[in-house]
Symmetry: C2
Subunit: 118 residues, 2 copies
């Protein structure tokens, strides 16, 4: 999986936060702080859909974009990808488990327990 640039991530964040598919214009309106040209937003949306992060459907002349996967799925995939990198997955996992904070360890524990029960 390819990574995301900074602007790309900002835009993904907007789309992940929104439940409905947005047009380029709508997205642009939500990044006002950066004062981008409309075409900039369109270009980035286009690249993101080329890269498979977004899907788009027609709405009149405009496209409406929405995430192809949830942010959680993306994050989990990044984590798995990092894990792929090591020769010793167990060691890395152990280290990871030690690094997460207490409350998160709790979440993990719970998720794993539920898995076990299925």
């Amino acid at each position: 999986m390819k990574g995301l640039g900074e602007l790309e991530r900002s835009i993904m964040d907007i789309l992940w936060a929104e439940n409905a598919p947005l047009t380029a214009r709508e997205v642009g309106r939500m990044i006002e702080d950066r004062d981008l040209a409309p075409t900039t937003v369109m270009t980035v949306l286009d690249r993101l859909s080329r890269k498979g992060f977004l899907t788009r459907t027609r709405d009149g002349r405009a496209w409406r974009y929405q995430p192809a996967a949830s942010r959680d799925a993306y994050v989990a995939e990044l984590m798995l990808e990092a894990l792929e990198m090591t020769g010793d997955r167990d060691a890395a996992l152990t280290r990871f488990a030690q690094a997460v904070s207490g409350s998160e360890a709790e979440i993990l524990r719970k998720a794993l327990t539920e898995l076990e029960e299925e």
Copy 2:
């Protein structure tokens, strides 16, 4: 943390696999399949130490390079970094737990249990 390119990662892999600090020449000899110029290896080693992935110490005229952190630590850090990206860490962690394979879930479970006991 900055990411690693492909050659950079190959070289880190060599150094992670080795226990002793290596010189550029030694590293170069271990990537024979790519037939790189010696200076190429040196440049990459230099960049890696600039980026903080390697530390180096003098050995006569030459430098000896060794990883600043273990591969496991690096991988765990990458995973945490991915986790930082989400607004809902719990959801991402849950998804991650569901995505790891059975034996790895077991490792995680064990690591978490040991944590708890301390």
